[in-house]
Point group: D2
Chain length 353, copies 4
Amino acid sequence: MVTHLAKQENPSAGQKQHSHVVKFGVIGYGYWGPNVVRNLNQLEETDVLAVCDKSPAARRRLQKAYPHVKISSNATDLICSPEIDAVAVVTPVWTHYELAKAALENGKHIFVEKPFTSNLAQAEELIELAAKKNLKVMVDHTFLFTGAVRKIRQLLDEDALGSLYYYDSMRVNLGLFQHDVNVIWDLAPHDLSIMDYLIRETPEAIVATGQTHLNGCEDVAFITLYFPDKIIAHLNVNWLSPVKVRTTLIGGEKKMLVWNDLEVDEKIKVYDKGVSVTTREGLYNLLVNYRSGDMWAPQIEQVEALHQELAYFVDCITRDTTMINDGHAGLRVVKMLEAASESLRQRGALVYL
Amino acid sequence: MVTHLAKQENPSAGQKQHSHVVKFGVIGYGYWGPNVVRNLNQLEETDVLAVCDKSPAARRRLQKAYPHVKISSNATDLICSPEIDAVAVVTPVWTHYELAKAALENGKHIFVEKPFTSNLAQAEELIELAAKKNLKVMVDHTFLFTGAVRKIRQLLDEDALGSLYYYDSMRVNLGLFQHDVNVIWDLAPHDLSIMDYLIRETPEAIVATGQTHLNGCEDVAFITLYFPDKIIAHLNVNWLSPVKVRTTLIGGEKKMLVWNDLEVDEKIKVYDKGVSVTTREGLYNLLVNYRSGDMWAPQIEQVEALHQELAYFVDCITRDTTMINDGHAGLRVVKMLEAASESLRQRGALVYL
Amino acid sequence: MVTHLAKQENPSAGQKQHSHVVKFGVIGYGYWGPNVVRNLNQLEETDVLAVCDKSPAARRRLQKAYPHVKISSNATDLICSPEIDAVAVVTPVWTHYELAKAALENGKHIFVEKPFTSNLAQAEELIELAAKKNLKVMVDHTFLFTGAVRKIRQLLDEDALGSLYYYDSMRVNLGLFQHDVNVIWDLAPHDLSIMDYLIRETPEAIVATGQTHLNGCEDVAFITLYFPDKIIAHLNVNWLSPVKVRTTLIGGEKKMLVWNDLEVDEKIKVYDKGVSVTTREGLYNLLVNYRSGDMWAPQIEQVEALHQELAYFVDCITRDTTMINDGHAGLRVVKMLEAASESLRQRGALVYL
Amino acid sequence: MVTHLAKQENPSAGQKQHSHVVKFGVIGYGYWGPNVVRNLNQLEETDVLAVCDKSPAARRRLQKAYPHVKISSNATDLICSPEIDAVAVVTPVWTHYELAKAALENGKHIFVEKPFTSNLAQAEELIELAAKKNLKVMVDHTFLFTGAVRKIRQLLDEDALGSLYYYDSMRVNLGLFQHDVNVIWDLAPHDLSIMDYLIRETPEAIVATGQTHLNGCEDVAFITLYFPDKIIAHLNVNWLSPVKVRTTLIGGEKKMLVWNDLEVDEKIKVYDKGVSVTTREGLYNLLVNYRSGDMWAPQIEQVEALHQELAYFVDCITRDTTMINDGHAGLRVVKMLEAASESLRQRGALVYL
């Protein structure tokens, strides 16, 4: 890759130079694509050379906003262009595998929308291909780059919460964004990728329940994940909610935490609350001690997560380092999604991972 | 029963007379008992003659607040007293059956704390005994008498929401109120009794997951109930939450509703929001239509639910009418609790009712 | 006073004895009276011997709730009763002076509803009379005994906020509780007594604006108080607000604080936020530095303020100590109310105190 | 004006043509300028030909985002360019008069940031000059184009609230955005322009109080405006608040309204609440009737106000129609700001307009 080699040839260069800029092609300019293009256009380390989308309306919007970018209706030119270093795949999940594979085969690093692929086999194949070609795969688990998730991760790293008891997330709103996947494949990847990053354990088994009301896909679903050490996780995802909720409770032995992502200023509240139970010998009754103290809302860095993530992508490419949201992270999420789907089909059967 | 007969002998009496007053004995003056005693003391149609509690501290508080009431340490006198018409059993669930049975056998109507009994067989036996003795059984499903639940019931009766899609309740806080039962038996009876009253269908099957962290009983649990006609219900109950949440989402075809019981003034918000899906012949894509309109918060009657419930109890006794929260309603809740416990033991197995 | 002497004669008595109980007569059983009677009935150190109210309905409610208390329709018996040690005056403000004066003349300590009196002269006379008779006067500035105000006072005592910049309170709701006084005399006494306790300075001047819409008294008013050292205070009181607001902002050099009294759990939030301004020599521009850090919600003691206040009243009587909410505190509030009224009449003229 | 004439010459043109596009020069690319440029770039009816800013950093950001736009460090070229139809003045208030005057003299329509000018005389001169030159002046009272203000205006037009009692706004946050003006000139123009649009009356007199703590300008201020017919308005503006508040209460005879601009979905809540007072002949007491009914949150159009405003500007230029936020509206706001400043200097003196 040109950028990378340029860097190696000139390792003493302290300042960013034009030759280090990673040149992107972006496939898909629908709901999320414009954010990817805008950030790649703003970052000093990146340039957007080409964007493609099948929709003429999308291409017109592109033309007005970015008159200097090459716009096309199909992905082939962009994937084959020798000028392009990396391809961002911002399209529906069922198209990821083919587009990502073609990009890798043409020697491009790939940035792929979540969920990574439609199934485990595709994820494995892409990881293997990238490894063989020595290319980077980043799955767009944007939330890992928010100030909130980074702060929670920091609190867990400092053992501020103590041993974890539970992770309980509610992610509901009105919206059937896609009709090729159910609500689990649409909304749960966010929570599963965050949990994967925060809990750092693989769940042992999954139970999922849900119901289909409108279009043949489940629009309401509830997922329980059993982790080792009695950690239990629960996700509530719903496309038919009149209100938008983005709230996660995390309970630990020492402290408990509420993350409300819709709050502007106090997204995370840490509660000095807890319960301890002791048993006196010979006594029938347990002694329950509640601890209820102050609440504390740490300041959260206010940055655009996608901006951070794309800068990190470029940095990992340039320095050839491992990513927190690489293909393996993407694969773990796909694996949980598959297990949840299997359990859902069996109306809540326990599915081991 | 004196009160009842007096009424029948004097059916033309339009006004309340002293002879109609229902005389109560109350067993238990712990957490909830003081509210029962206070309301029975305030109501014109009732009098509290005697209260018993094993705790000397509870009896001292009683003495200071109600110097004119007969106070004792055990229930026998109260249950056997010929002056007493009805007995309120406000004690832990494992004592309900014996106390309620003794009261019925002594010819007293009974008002029993929820959940009705520890198992289905006990509930069936008490219902049968009461029927034989022609006595009333009320299970203290207090929430049915709140302004909020009555308003939701009215909206459903008017078909304001259309066909129901889901009922999703979150009832979490910090607190292990009892250590003889798990969080399902402690918190879910509220939701199950409300659902039973609002949905008016029997669930077909239940899936429950959860985890035990502290004292041998599950302190976090998630219950899914499959109802006929694709209605799905979900309960999230948790004793280890740093924040108190009492929120229920109800989704319907025409409208959707959020009930936040912790709101002082706007407990219920009705959203003119919805989704409809149409399929055009020959088209691959579904057409999804969102409807997003005004929100409306109906005024809710501000009354103390327990006051309403006890007045209704007296009224049903006096007029010999059927109650919405009679022994059968109590039994249905116990049946769902048993099924949820069974599923929980099997880590989420589908249990049919 | 019997109680007090008894204590002095028996100073070694470590335990509360019946002879120390302060015996109360309560005048007024309308909106607030029932709370005073309930607390006096619950406290171990007090007994309610007699209550009077002109309303037959109020007396009926009294009879049902407190069958053992002496109930009457006028205050004279109660004020003259030799058995009574202290009189609580829980009546409209225009009756305070006469009732309080009669009680003091009959050797009773007095607990008087806020505002203390209708004007400064009355307040001065009552203070003088009580001093001459060696009796205690407490003005019911209940808020000083809430966990929230005590916590704020503690933070100020620790200089946690630094020099104060402003105190800004909003106290609005729907309600014309009294039509003999305007909204300032009805709602502002709360804020003025709290400010008097927290800021501990006398304002230099007051500006008040407002408007009368319905019944000849101002129902909306805005008060600015200029304190020494550039502290500015502002009160927004309104009887015609569709929503209830009870929020106070306190800005200081080091930290800033928001007190939302309608919050159940997190009434006080302390923000590590601030601004500092420096001027570089010879530079046109000021350098503004913002500091934005964590937020912290200290745990607040959950107690009934009136309970605490009445226990403190008895304690101050028994130990003959000075009260934070004595007649002088009551007088200071009345003085500010008078100045605000004068400014209001002149549509915002600056009135010096 | 070229654009306008082109339209007249070709009145049957149903579709937008390139010749109708209004060509803009924008002066100032600091805090607000980027939003103006972005919207002008997106609108089909407008084009941004040139942008100037004194800051090299601002120009670099411009260059990256809009490589096709002419960028310069001073305004002269832009103001004199014959290709430019309209100039947006997005600079500090003390520069408005000179820049706007130069633009008008060069035959450009002007879009001027609020507040219009530093004093009344400047505003009058600009209005006169524009009239003479037959050019349009729009003052950027952006809030008039929000869904919320438009909905409130609609409710008032329908007389949904009845006669107005009061308008009470709180606009506080942490921030000294400008140090050449005080908090009134910085924050109050928003409220004054909204009030001017909604109440449609000129206030009779103004009282303002406030205090200076940090940099020689008042950072906390409270303004009361006396309108005819007993309408009273009140603004609370504060640069030293730890929390951001953007809430307006509007009380009317029939209904009352709360507008919380920080709410995402339910910005406006209309309360069916009210008070009426009747006096029975010969009776001392007034009869106060409270009405408390449902709350209703009308759906608010979700649009970017600045987008709407700029489209409206172009439309008013093209069709030569009068604007709701023309120079006269700007002048009225400046007049109120001057009166408030005068009152503030005199510590709350009543200043007639």
